[in-house]
Symmetry: none
């Protein structure tokens, strides 16, 4: 039973309060430890009120995911890369991703956790990863056809692998708090990526080219 979109203004407010409270509680307690009554307590409503809007913990979690996705999929454009400088594009994408990750680290950890716990969320995430990889695989394919990327790598696998590299490293740094210089992170990830595909790296770290 999906909740009917709240009809009244009061209902809308209550629903929003529950979502906000749920995010607080989930980030504080983790998905498993969080109890419905923690959420209602945090929201300042009676426990029964929860069920006016959601069927269970998973459903309110989905609502949070949806809200955040809205944010993370349409980030305010912060960098614009001109032309066809792939390396710069990758660098920009990585910087943007790592910034967003850092800002939402607790939530990202939560996504990881829930994906491990709830098969529905696992599938959701798998599909997102797949879609993303397919887009990137197309890019890689084109670059290979244009002779600008190593033709020896399988585009889809490479797309998955490089996404995994960035995503998992971000996870390790922020969530598992591996001690790593965060300054160097974006640069090195980008360089690894560019190298991995044998893109012309000239523009990322301009070689000490030309004569002095």
């Amino acid at each position: 039973m999906v909740e009917p979109p709240a009809r009244t203004r009061r209902g809308e407010r209550t629903r929003a309060a529950l979502i906000a409270a749920a995010r607080v509680v989930f980030e504080r307690e983790g998905f498993l430890e969080a109890r419905v009554c923690d959420i209602t307590a945090e929201a300042g409503v009676a426990s029964g009120t929860f069920y006016t809007y959601f069927d269970d913990k998973a459903q309110i979690f989905a609502a949070i995911v949806e809200a955040v996705q809205e944010d993370m999929l349409h980030p305010p454009v912060r960098e614009r890369v001109e032309g066809d400088d792939v390396a710069a594009m990758i660098a920009a994408a990585n910087r943007e991703y790592l910034r967003a990750y850092a800002e939402n680290a607790r939530l990202m950890a939560l996504f990881e956790q829930v994906a491990q716990i709830d098969p529905e969320f696992r599938e959701l995430r798998r599909r997102r990863g797949q879609a993303f990889a397919e887009r990137n695989a197309k890019l890689i394919s084109r670059l290979q056809r244009e002779g600008r990327a190593d033709p020896g790598v399988d585009p889809l696998i490479a797309a998955h692998a490089l996404s995994a590299m960035v995503g998992r490293t971000a996870y390790a740094i922020h969530v598992m708090q591996q001690e790593i210089d965060r300054e160097a992170l974006a640069d090195t990830l980008t360089r690894l990526w560019v190298n991995a595909l044998r893109l012309d790296s000239g523009s990322v770290n301009p070689a000490p080219a030309g004569p002095a």
Copy 2:
């Protein structure tokens, strides 16, 4: 409290039966769903017997991890790489890793899950990753000093990132069942790795070989 080593042969048998049963149950039900009584039922012993050997679910899981680690850390030597051919070494390591992963896919998924659920296991895994990365970082440093690897990457970050790439891709393939040609997997991962460090073919960073 760690379980005292069983003193009799019978006890040893029962303990082993419990561990085997636990593995079956965990793989079938997942860590969260598994109940202690599922394990004892599977092992064919009374429920109380469990507590003769383990304090709780987490502890028997740790025993499983330990047993598997024994297996995965001392794999039968399958490939031997001669000399200082780093690319071949990496290729061999990747092949070996992916093979082991494939053989223990369900268990590896379980490890991921439990690491998400139990902070102690999370920490355990973090430390293992850290140790592994540090070893690889040393290798990368050496190669950089020898002019055989891209000096532009941070060794420790690269080590983490490349491990993450391989580990997470293996996870995606086997556990999340991304549809990817498993044949091409090892080759592409190795190539990405080698490229990422600019190790290959002597052309990028020509070994300080022959005369100038």
Copy 3:
């Protein structure tokens, strides 16, 4: 954690029903034998309801103690002793005490039992006894200064000892069912008390009465 005062009338009723049921069950089964589910069954509520109001058996027992204390500390005034006739005062106090004891014999036995089982209740009882003895010790001291009580007894020890005498004898009679004529009990206890302090009849320590 102390239970929050029930907020609704219904809650108040349920809580009271649980306390009443607990008293019945405790008196019937004893503290150790009583199970939480006996109490809820007696109260006619679901087992989980217990935990809405109490953390455990000990806490509901404390609530009973409190309720009874309310009763025993503010007894309806039955006897009023005029002036400074200490012997009459003691007699009245003893009669009142023994009457209350008889009326709550089962519960008093329960208090003894729980004090033996739960350190918190033991301490509670110890403190009550100490406070009571200190009050009586002051009285005895005064009487000694006035030459109306044997100066050879230590006031505090005597206060403890005489309380113990009355309290323990009441216990023996009612709880352990020693076969003793209950009529004579109050008289003899009072006489022992008065004698013990040499208060009586003015003959032992003649009040500083008439002219020398």
Copy 4:
């Protein structure tokens, strides 16, 4: 099933070890908390061995009681009171009792506890108290007939009450650790006792009698 008296020398040793261990464990943990396996562990035998000698915790406790009673009922004679000086007799008895109590305080607390828990022990103790009181009642009766004790007290009640006074005060002092000067204790208890019966107190605390 009562244990057959152990037949072999080894058996006798094991049984004694169990009793000694039980006393240690009971004093350390209390009767309720003590587990059979604690006792066997303390005795250094296997848990099953317990049942070769005892049916359960209560039975080994009974064995301890028996052993101690042996000690406390036939104390080495430390004071001998000549003639018919009742007050001196009482003083000696009290001193002896308090000394024994102090020496076995933990065990006495245990007896109290178990009497509250196990009806059989409660009855046992009741009977002992009754027998003791009856003996004392006879003494009091005789003294009354001889005009040496207050005829206004009921002999049996007084016997119970005065025993209760001494016993319970000892309990309070040693077990509940009321803060009381232990030096004054025996003197005051004896004086209260003597006073209570209006015995001639001359010999206990010699009155500053006759002219100098």
